[in-house]
Amino acid sequence: MKKLILLVLLGLTSFFHSFAQSSNDVEMADVLRSSGKIYVVVAVVCVIFVGFIIYLFTIDRKISRLENKKK
């Protein structure tokens, strides 16, 4: 009887253990998200990217001017 109870308990623990390892347990950066600090990172990357695009547009305009001058 004792052995049977032990066996059932063992089976149960392994059963719950398999649940614990499901994908919900994967470590994600939830703290970074809930604290709102992720927005700082997004803002920084956006500023860099917008600056890069503006830079490309100024080069574009400059080349257009050169092309017009040649004609």
């Binding site: 994908s23 919900n24 994967v26 470590e27 994600m28 950066a29 992720i38 990172v41 997004v42 990357v45 956006c46 990217f49 917008v50 695009i53 490309l56 547009f57 080069i59 574009d60 080349i63 257009s64 050169l66 092309e67 040649k70």
Partner: protein
């Protein structure tokens, strides 16, 4: 006035992919964790590179049939910008591989293939610089480019599929399957790819137009 709309489109798409890429939910997968977001930034580099190499080979063929120098100039500037995107792809890939695969350069057929392809295109640029005479340079490098392109395709897309590769989409499993990507990810990933491709083309046109002015003088 040149048409600017697609440049704004490019900027808007990548801008959206940056915001969505950091903030939208992603599948929670072991090993990858949050680095799955690299999909939005690392892979579009390679897409942009492939598009630029395609443009380059098209204009190399056009050069051989027309003999016009401007076609040759567009071919070489496409490779120039393609190499930059290739470099970004390699560096970001190494950073990503270091945390997910354990080392920056695991012995993976896709990685080694991309290294060989990169060297091939660097050789194209070296070959151009080695030839002084303008027409000869254009013709020989156009032929080299036409041969290099299918080899690059084989190295990057065919050989890794025949053996086992760490990259998804190789060794039999389809790329971008539902296992790796859900709908939200696709909604960010495809705009990012298109946006970066357009930005690559934009930079190429800038270099080409500058090169053309320089050449005509």
């Amino acid at each position: 006035m040149k048409a600017y709309w697609w440049k704004f489109l490019a900027a808007g798409l990548v801008f959206y992919s940056i915001i969505g890429g950091f903030l939208f939910p992603v599948p929670e997968l072991p090993i990858l964790h949050e680095t799955i977001r690299n999909t939005y930034f690392h892979i579009p580099m390679w897409f942009a590179m492939i598009l630029l190499y395609v443009i380059s080979v098209v204009y190399s063929i056009k050069y051989l049939s027309s003999g016009e120098t401007k076609h040759d100039l567009l071919a070489v500037e496409s490779v120039n910008v393609g190499i930059i995107f290739c470099g970004f792809g390699l560096i970001t890939g190494m950073l990503w591989a270091d945390v997910t695969w354990g080392e920056p350069w695991p012995n993976d057929p896709k990685l080694n293939g991309s290294a060989i392809a990169t060297l091939m295109y660097l050789a194209y640029l070296v070959l151009r610089n080695a030839l002084d005479e303008e027409q000869k340079r254009a013709k020989i490098s156009a032929i080299y480019n036409i041969f290099a392109f299918p080899v690059m395709i084989v190295l990057l897309f065919i050989l890794p599929r025949l053996t086992d590769s760490l990259h998804p989409g190789n060794g039999g499993n389809p790329a971008f399957s539902n296992l790796d990507m859900d709908g939200t990810m696709r909604a960010v990933f495809y705009p990012a790819v298109l946006g970066w491709m357009l930005i690559g083309v934009w930079i190429t046109t800038l270099r080409y137009r500058y090169r053309l002015i320089d050449w005509e003088q």
